[in-house]
């Protein structure tokens, strides 16, 4: 209780509250603009937050992280273009509802479901905290190594249908992390006698290249488009009450979001897939799914908004990021000397509580903002796409250049920008590279320190948590093989699959 009160005290500062307001409202606006998304915004803002107070910087980024999906639902519903990648499923039921003249109802349900999912996840996080504080100290080097390994395996296997590509890109990420002067034996790795490679390849430079610059290039090279959504009339608040009729779907979807968010490497897409499938199977009108079913819309939005809160669990408790955005946040924690992991819950519980409360507040701020400002947002999304590319390019410059005023960093980021564009065009995943870099570093450090006390391979898993994670790794692999065999038996011919609609990597 003391920690909770002291957490509230930490937040009760004008700069933290201003950061919360700017982060959450900024996040909604950024999320609503198709082609920007939270990843681009967080990548650009990362270096700027380094000079801020830890809680202020983290609150801004958390605000953007937690609120962008609210904004992303708006263009998904109104113009059939998801604002952020994870709103793709929202278009399936949201847009048909708009076509039926039910745009207000669809938006209200999406906002309500998002709010429910977001707050549900944070409540789970708060309830789980004492348990986490109890379990986290039992995570030694080998447990963290195994959890990071599980994260890498899951991020590869979660990219269904593209496991090989995800595998090679994750391996590429691990490789990138090893380039430069290695800190223990001081040997050079893949520097090719170039001084600029000696200091290694900075994660933030890669993130800015792969997320921000690549998106700018995609927009600049592509055709210019200007979306023109219709304004929404009537009160949102009244329409939101309908959510109470779908309590079961919303709770189940949020639970899937929490579960999938907690597991590193899985994230929003799997959570949405599971909750949407559940909602459809348990619905009285399953034939309406994909044609404007409110249940489908709720399943999608409640699940994706529950993920950010839950993804904070492995990040805060173990220092293991589950996806690209939490990987970026991890670097902010490190810069401010807040080391996520078992000690955080023991030594800085008030800081953890302050983050939780900030997350609840941001959901409230966003909901209130959206209830009144939806029509203003429909104007924001009318920026022509190529001009948006210019804006992202200017912003990306600040992100990369302000890190250490290095032209080389900018050139590397530009290179990764082109690489990211190719990956996006091919619809190949970018996230495994980032997770490969972050988890690769964790695995290298933790394996080295844990092997000092291991005599035989079995010693590695002789502690209960290590053994459990190891069994999970085996189960995940076995289940994947089983699914592959099952899918192979029921597969669709290539000609019947769609090559064009999967834009899940666009942001």
């Amino acid at each position: 209780m003391d920690a909770l009160l002291s957490g509230i005290e930490l937040l009760a500062r004008w700069d933290v509250l201003a950061a919360l307001l700017i982060g959450s409202i900024g996040g909604v606006i950024i999320g609503a603009i198709p082609g920007v998304g939270a990843a681009v915004a967080i990548a650009i803002l990362l270096p700027a937050t380094f000079s801020l107070d830890p809680l202020v910087g983290l609150t801004i980024l958390l605000g953007i992280y937690g609120s962008s999906m609210y904004g992303g639902a708006l263009p998904a519903i109104l113009i059939n273009t998801p604002g952020t990648a994870v709103n793709a499923l929202t278009t399936y039921d949201g847009y048909p509802m708009t076509k039926r003249g039910e745009a207000r109802r669809a938006l209200a349900l999406a906002y309500g479901a998002s709010f429910f999912g977001g707050v549900f996840a944070i409540i789970c996080l708060i309830l789980l905290s004492p348990l986490l504080a109890l379990i986290a100290p039992h995570f030694g080097s080998r447990e963290i190594f195994l959890a990071a390994l599980l994260g890498i395996i899951l991020v590869v296997l979660a990219h269904r249908g593209q496991v090989f590509a995800a595998g090679m890109l994750a391996a590429f990420g691990i490789f990138l992390n090893t380039v430069g002067l290695e800190p223990v034996k001081y040997t050079r790795r893949f520097t090719f006698d170039q001084t600029w490679l000696t200091s290694g390849i900075d994660l933030i430079v890669v993130v800015l290249g792969l997320f921000a610059l690549s998106q700018a290039f995609v927009l600049l090279v592509g055709r210019s488009e200007t979306p023109h959504p219709q304004p929404v009339k009537g009160s949102m608040f009244g329409a939101m009450k309908e959510l109470f009729q779908h309590k079961r779907v919303a709770s189940a979807a949020a639970s899937f979001g929490v579960l999938m968010g907690m597991i590193p490497g899985v994230g929003e897409f799997t959570a949405q897939f599971m909750s949407y499938t559940y909602a459809q199977k348990s619905s009285k009108t399953p034939e309406m799914f994909g044609k404007g079913s409110p249940e489908g819309l709720i399943a999608s939005e409640a699940a994706n908004n529950a993920v950010p809160g839950a993804a904070m669990i492995p990040l805060l408790a173990l220092g293991i990021p589950g996806e690209a955005l939490t990987a970026m946040m991890l670097s902010v924690f490190y810069v401010h000397n807040v080391i996520p992991g078992p000690q955080l819950f023991q030594n800085q519980l008030d800081f953890v509580y302050a983050l939780y409360i900030a997350m609840i507040l941001l959901n409230v701020v966003v909901l209130i903002f959206l209830l009144f400002a939806t029509n203003m947002l429909t104007k924001v999304i009318q920026i022509p796409t190529r001009f948006l590319g210019v804006i992202i390019l200017i912003l990306s410059f600040v992100g990369v250049y302000s890190l250490r005023n290095s032209v080389t960093d900018c050139a590397i980021a530009a290179g990764f920008g082109v690489f990211g564009l190719i990956l996006k065009r091919l619809n190949l995943p970018v996230v495994p590279i980032i997770l490969g870099m972050v988890l690769g570093n964790i695995m290298e450090v933790k394996l080295r320190s844990s092997m000092a006390r291991v005599k035989t391979p079995l010693d590695f898993i002789d502690r209960p948590i290590a053994a459990i994670i190891f069994v999970i790794i085996l189960l995940v692999i076995v289940m994947h093989i089983r699914t592959l065999i099952k899918e192979h038996k029921n597969r669709l011919p290539e000609s019947e699959t769609d090559h064009d609609v999967h834009d899940s990597q666009m942001n």
Binding site: A48, L52, R160, G161, F164, A165, G167, M168, A171, F172, I174, F175, N177, E182, V184, K185, T187, R189, F190, T191, F192, F217, S224, F269, F273, T277, Q280, P384, R386, F387, G389, V390, L393, F397, V398, S402, N405, V407, A411, G417, V418, I422, R425, L426, N427, L428, G436, G440, E444, L447, R448, E494, E496, T497, D498, H499, V501, H502, S504, Q505
Partner: protein, 179 residues
């Protein structure tokens, strides 16, 4: 555009034109790294395998070669999708904007952050086909806003331009600090 058949298909990512070109290039790069592995990493004496500096690069590169090879096989055995070279041309077109970006990076220390940003934004906007004073003004406004937010308020580290040296003392100090 064909409708998706099953829910599961929604989450699968399918091949796009240019997949084979990328698969070949990636595998080629991975093989180059594999060949350089001996030269570019060191196996240190009296150190356990897991603590060797070369351990993780080896694991990563072997995984890149293996997965890259399987990805290439996947591309080879799948039916060809038309438009491969059109797609490669699209990739190459992005190089133009990478060059624009680098020119921007290089002119900032010369002209200063604010003038360079305004010049860059308005010229690139013109290049993209948004012509007329309205667009140029809008571009300049966006550039100024970004500079004011990041340099004036957030005080991010962007050095002043050499051009500022030509200004009178008071104006120079002001420009160096805020723009």
């Amino acid at each position: 555009m064909l409708r998706i058949k099953t829910l599961q298909d929604l989450f699968k990512r399918y091949r796009r034109p240019g997949d084979l070109v990328f698969a070949v290039l990636f595998l080629g790069f991975a093989l180059f790294l594999l060949v350089s592995l001996g030269d570019q990493t060191t196996w240190v004496k009296r150190t356990k395998t897991f603590a060797q500096p070369a351990f993780w690069p080896t694991i990563a590169i072997y995984a890149m070669v293996r997965f890259g090879g399987l990805h290439l096989v996947g591309s080879l055995v799948s039916p060809k999708i038309e438009g491969r070279w059109v797609e490669v041309k699209f990739w190459l077109k992005s190089l133009e904007y990478a060059v624009w970006f680098m020119v921007y990076v290089l002119i900032v220390p010369l002209l200063g952050y604010l003038p360079a940003s305004i010049l860059f934004a308005s010229t690139l906007t013109f290049r993209l086909g948004y012509r007329g004073w309205r667009w140029a003004g809008l571009a300049a406004l966006v550039a100024t806003t970004v500079v004011v937010i990041f340099k004036t308020f957030l005080q991010v580290k962007v050095p002043g331009g050499q051009l500022y040296e030509l200004l009178p003392d008071t104006a120079r100090a002001f420009m160096l600090t805020y723009f």
